[in-house]
Point group: C2
Chain length 182, copies 2
């Protein structure tokens, strides 16, 4: 007799399947299979697929907190969030499309707000979150396109270009938004 499932474990397995096979293959049926239950049993633990994905998004964003502790600069916090998004297959897409529910997506802006100090920096936090999510989404799009074969160039060179673009964007935004670096 297997112990009953809890949401934590379900999210853990969902994230593992996401990393292994990608978002398109992460179905309620494949997840149930992985957990050794029937698909319908998932609906005792979770309201629907959308909220499950929001919980996965939350987990992804939260994983950036270890590296981005209080007191780090905005740039470091942004880099930590970017790394967390890119660390999981289709991570940016999952987080971006769960933003509506308050989980996951809002978390990115929250993290930026924390790193900024919090008072009167709401606008800057939102702008930074918008850039980080747009950037990470396009990076992962490109990675996927390359995986599917269609693309041209040396992956290392491409990765380096993206790194440059991210740094340039964060740099311009932190300076241009008149953020008091700490």
């Amino acid at each position: 007799m297997r112990p009953p499932l809890d949401l934590e474990h379900i999210v853990t397995r969902a994230l593992a399947l996401l990393d292994a096979y990608g978002l398109a293959s992460l179905t309620m049926r494949s997840l149930a299979d992985d957990l050794g239950i029937r698909p319908s049993a998932l609906y005792w633990h979770v309201e629907n697929k959308q909220t499950l994905l929001a919980a996965v998004a939350d987990r992804i964003v939260s994983s950036a907190s270890a590296s981005a502790e209080l007191g780090v600069g905005v740039g470091a916090a942004a880099r930590a969030v970017r790394a967390a998004l890119l660390a999981h297959r289709d991570g940016a897409e999952v987080v971006l499309s769960s933003a509506a529910l308050g989980l996951g997506g809002l978390g990115v802006a929250e993290r930026m707000r924390d790193a900024l100090g919090g008072d009167g920096q709401e606008l800057a936090a939102q702008v930074l979150a918008q850039f980080v999510l747009g950037h990470a989404s396009l990076v992962q799009q490109r990675i996927q396109a390359a995986t599917l074969g269609a693309y041209d160039a040396d992956p290392d060179a491409v990765a380096h270009e993206f790194d440059e673009q991210f740094d340039a964007g964060i740099d311009a935004l932190t300076r241009g938004l008149a953020i008091t670096a700490r």
Copy 2:
């Protein structure tokens, strides 16, 4: 006897259905229904749903060209692209997720490059495109959440906040990326 369909018309109807019912409801079956054919007939005109959506994305981005003619500033070009994305339901998501195929999503960076002058501004064009797409995606996420009921505040106030954020972001980027305004 209806005249045979062409891709132009198919994309036009797909865009109309997108505006009317949203991306989740835009299926090959509903599109075929709208066109008065069977779903399988669509596959004579189009390789698969993904490339169809890429053509829709292309159309959305292209619709920004009328307002963003050659010679306008980067800010005006960015505003035109943003307006085009927000003019269609789920427009940002469609464009963002088609970016991998070279159509649609790449088009945003292209447009930025054109407005910038084109030589040695590749990095700036990419960074601007990343911000514009991230921003528009989050705006539409929020709109959708509000439509589904869950949300709080005065829509006009929210819209104004997003406008401010966009302007602040574009302003900071154009200045911070050392772009020669024209």
